[in-house]
């Protein structure tokens, strides 16, 4: 009896699990195949924005697919080769998705455009590359016309630091020189009260009872 219940429970669990798996399984297997066609930019002058684009079409009918999200990545070599997300765009009625991108290095830039798929359409991606020509500054020149300040600021700081050090040296030297006891001629050679820096009449400052 108990064994029968156990078997029944296990069977229910297996069936329920299978149903859940089927419900959560991707439907991509039956989705319509798609194609992403690269629309690479021409050779690009460094430091200027470029439009990188791709067109998404139905793989079987070649019909353009609109209102779908396409992500764009650039292959970087920061801490090892990896794809860096540079933006995403929705395809228009012609199936075209495009973003503006400013290359941050000179030479080949490899771009990956990726459609992640949907309930109706299968995922796809395409890779293309373009060449950025000329120097591409990683950081923009941040001077904004502040060049005179940029030129003088270090000198001002150096003068300030030197001034502080000169003051420190002056204080030490004037202390060392100023503290030398000048014993007047004819005075006894021994100093009056060694190490005593206050001159009250008695040894004690107070009477200890006030």
């Amino acid at each position: 009896m108990a064994v029968g219940n156990l078997i029944r429970t296990a069977a229910v669990l297996v069936v329920a699990g299978a149903m859940l798996w089927l419900a959560g399984a991707p439907v991509v297997a039956s989705a319509t195949p798609t194609v992403l066609t690269a629309l690479p930019p021409a050779e690009q002058e460094g430091g200027k924005a470029v439009t990188i684009a791709a067109r998404l079409t139905d793989g079987s009918t070649n019909r353009p697919l609109g209102s779908l999200n396409v992500q764009f990545f650039v292959m970087t070599d920061v801490f090892g080769p990896r794809l860096m997300s540079v933006g995403q765009a929705i395809t228009d009625t012609t199936g075209r998705a495009a973003i503006s991108y400013k290359p941050s290095w000179e030479g080949d830039t490899k771009v990956v455009a990726r459609f992640a798929g949907s309930a109706q359409f299968a995922a796809t991606e395409t890779t293309f590359q373009f060449v950025a020509v000329g120097p591409v500054p990683v950081h923009q020149d941040a001077s904004f016309g502040l060049e005179p300040i940029r030129a003088w600021a270090p000198a001002v700081v150096v003068v300030l630091v030197l001034g502080v050090w000169a003051t420190l040296i002056a204080v030490v030297s004037q202390t060392v020189l100023g503290l030398r006891v000048r014993i007047p001629e004819g005075a006894p050679v021994s100093v009056p009260i060694a190490g005593t820096h206050l001159q009250p009449a008695s040894e004690d400052i107070g009477d200890g009872a006030s």
Binding site: T76, V78, F79, R82, M84, S85, P154, V157, V158, V161, V164, W165, T167, L168, V171, V172, Q174, T175, V176, G178, L179, R180, V181, R182, V191, P192, I193, A194, G195, T196, H197, L198, Q199, P200, E203, D204, I205, G206, D207, G208, A209, S210
Partner: protein
């Protein structure tokens, strides 16, 4: 000052009490602290031989315990120097028993803190590159210049009031040993003439004035090291005053701890009284309130804008993995000390000392929470990096913390723990005031 006037003999005896033959407890504490320092030295040697790979630091979290320690220990130093300088310049009559310990704490903490950028380098020889190939535009170069200038000023600030005290020690030892020679050298021929008084007072005033902007500049430069970096949590314009206030906060806490320890150990109750602790505690509350204000201002403006990176960082701090530490700092290191000092029942020497301990530990935690999460949060698409310190970093941190009391204990074995010069002057003023009042 105390209710009754103290005699010169009493003051000198109390100030030189730690210079007497040390007891068993002194040796035990020194041995314990030395063991921690030695352990740190072994850990550092191991790091030098094997590279920074033996730490928990990595390609992303490049600053961990070491840079948190740098900010923390230099902050402690700053608080010591500022407390002494401000009290001197404002002529606070109750400062006399505090200044020596505050100034010595400042130098000890600075020596420890200044070692951390070199420890963090991994290869200490590379420090030479900062000197040989440093660029004026580099905040690291600013840091080296600021710390070395401040170290020189702090040493002078400690040594100037030590001149008359060294003369007292010199005269108490007519024999010609190494120790006597050092006292003779440091006393600079002090005999207590009016001209010498004038020269010394002028020098001390100049240095007291100079050390305030210097200390502010050191901690501001440290703050800019973070502030000029485009990192979530660091990219802030208020970091310099925020750091300066935080440094004073932790520094005053450390001065209270040092005072409490030496007062207890050498029975200085007649000289360092409840009044001294209460006044310092009031300063601590003012600084705590200021720090709380800066913190709220920082998090409110960042949280309101909720830039993506900063939002993730705030979530990590307030609700995420680091939330227990963050709230521990808020309640344990900031609000609890304020409450301990605000409530008259706990505004006692043990209560204030406990508050100061909570502040010091809390501020270390806060520095850690500034340094590490800003790096752990990725700028490129990647996952959060979790930093765990290795035994090497823990050992070096504990050794550094032990080095400060060790240096102070050894220093006060050879030099008066109270500034005899200032104590006697203060007592003389006290007696004169009483006499004038009586007349």
């Amino acid at each position: 000052m105390t209710a009754r006037a103290l005699s010169r003999t009493e003051i000198r005896e109390a100030a030189q009490r730690p210079m007497m033959a040390p007891g068993k407890t002194w040796w035990l504490i020194v041995l314990g602290l030395s063991a921690l320092v030695l352990w740190a030295a072994v850990a550092y040697a191991y790091q030098v031989m094997n590279g920074l790979g033996v730490t928990g630091l990595g390609q992303r979290v490049t600053w961990g315990f070491y840079i948190a320690n740098l900010v923390f220990f230099i902050g402690i130093s700053y608080g010591g120097a500022m407390t002494s300088a401000i009290l001197r310049l404002t002529g606070a009559p109750w400062r006399a028993p505090l200044t020596r310990m505050a100034e010595a704490t400042a130098v000890a903490a600075l020596l420890v803190g200044a070692a951390f950028p070199i420890i963090d380098l991994g290869r200490p020889d590379r420090f030479l590159n900062v000197i040989l190939h440093g660029q004026v535009g580099s905040p690291v170069v600013w840091d080296v210049v600021a710390i070395s200038t401040y170290l020189a000023a702090s040493l002078i600030f400690l040594l100037l009031p030590l001149i008359p005290d060294a003369a007292v020690c010199r005269d108490a030892r007519p024999e010609r040993g190494l120790r006597s020679r050092i006292y003779r050298l440091l006393s600079l021929g002090w005999e207590g003439t009016p001209e010498q008084h004038r020269v010394l007072r002028r020098s001390m005033t100049i240095i007291a004035i100079l050390i305030i902007p210097l200390a502010v500049s050191v901690h501001s430069v440290l703050a800019w090291l973070f502030g000029v970096t485009v990192r979530p949590g660091w990219n802030s314009t208020i970091f310099a005053p925020y750091f300066v206030l935080g440094a004073m906060f932790s520094g005053v806490g450390a001065v209270i701890l040092v005072l409490a320890a030496f007062r207890k150990a050498y029975h200085l109750e007649a000289y360092i009284t409840t009044k001294h602790f209460t006044y310092l505690a009031y300063i601590l509350v003012v600084l705590a309130s200021g720090y709380l204000y800066f913190m709220v201002s920082e998090y409110l403006t960042e949280g309101y804008k909720m830039h993506e990176d900063t939002g993730r960082l705030l979530e990590l701090l307030m609700l995420g993995r680091l939330a227990p530490f963050f709230w521990l700092f808020i309640f344990g290191g900031l609000l609890a000390p304020i409450a301990l000092i605000a409530v008259p029942f706990t505004r006692t020497i043990p209560g204030i000392t406990l508050a100061a301990l909570a502040v010091v530990l809390g501020m270390w935690l806060k520095r850690f929470l500034i340094v590490v999460p800003g790096l752990a949060e990725p700028l490129l698409p990647s996952s959060l990096i979790i930093y765990y310190p290795s035994w090497v970093e823990v050992a070096i941190t504990l050794g550094a913390a032990a080095a400060i009391p060790l240096m102070l204990m050894v220093f006060f074995r050879f030099f008066p723990v109270l500034s005899i010069y200032e104590m006697e002057e203060a007592e003389l003023e006290h007696v004169s005031a009483h006499a004038a009042g009586g007349a």
